[in-house]
């Protein structure tokens, strides 16, 4: 049985089901991160003193990761644009680059975390580190999830391109929406945790 409205648009919404589905999911994600940002504000404003992020965390590494993640957003959108231009080979290159850049982000984060642990700085050390590890840890899980989906579309999932290219392009667009959201969250996490 075919899944309805994967390619054709619904009359009532003017969208295919995948598109509305991913946006509803992203709305729930906004609330998930929103709850943690609210916790951050509550803990910080209720604290008699609060360290500046750059006195504990590594700003150059985080800046590098910001550049890496923004670049991966561009390669992601270029992967989708390649499919729209009917250039599957170029899609593979851009999608591969997106997955690779996600990997670079995780490697840099690994060095950041291991350096903190080496210095005896853990989530239990203080409130600042507790919220830092929670927010960046949750974000990192999202990077891993996005990478897994993108790697699937780069590899085995790309078979769909041969049988139903429009559906495949829609799927890549939706996984792209999630990936851009992950980038968007980092754009706010970076100054909040590292620079203020």
């Amino acid at each position: 049985m075919d899944i309805p409205y994967t390619v054709e648009l619904r009359r009532d919404t003017g969208l295919n089901n995948g598109k509305i589905g991913i946006w509803l999911f992203l709305a729930s994600e906004v609330m998930l991160f929103g709850a943690l940002f609210a916790s951050y504000i509550l803990i910080r404003t209720g604290s008699p003193s609060w360290p500046r992020g750059d006195s504990i965390l590594n700003v150059p590494l985080a800046t590098l990761n910001t550049i890496v993640l923004i670049s991966s957003s561009v390669t992601m959108v270029m992967a989708w644009a390649s499919l729209m231009r009917n250039r599957f080979g170029t899609f593979r290159l851009y999608m591969g680059a997106t997955v690779l850049l996600g990997g670079v982000f995780l490697v840099v984060k690994y060095f950041e975390y291991s350096h903190k642990f080496h210095d005896g700085l853990f989530p239990s050390t203080n409130n600042f580190l507790a919220i830092y590890f929670t927010l960046t840890g949750l974000h990192m899980l999202h990077v891993m999830g996005g990478m897994a989906v993108n790697a699937y579309f780069w590899g085995p999932g790309a078979k769909l391109w041969k049988t139903n290219p429009t559906w495949f392009t829609n799927r890549v667009e939706n996984s792209g929406l999630f990936w851009h959201f992950v980038d968007l969250v980092w754009i706010f996490l970076f100054p909040t945790l590292y620079l203020l």
Binding site: I20, A35, A38, V59, S73, M76, I187, F188, P191, L196
Partner: protein, 106 residues
Amino acid sequence: MTDHAATSDHAADIDKHVRIYITVFVALMVLTIITVLIARVHLPIHLAVTVAMLVAGIKGTLVACYFMHLISERKLIYAVLALTVVFFVALLTLPVLTHHDGYWIH
């Protein structure tokens, strides 16, 4: 002939999109550098938070509007996001209100 014209129109449209993506990428890089440079000035905390969130807001808007194509999306998506914004703002406002004696929450 018509099909060919439609295809070349579509290709030109995507080419235009790609040029916009590259422009947005450059803008995001510049804004990232600005974010880091401003942090080095060590502004008073209220001003530093305002400036940092303003720059992050501009970057976020660029990503949402152009990479996520929100600039030309269907009404239903805008409705979903408008509702999300209302609850998100409420969520962030609640802890702030707890610190104002004599306000809503003590």
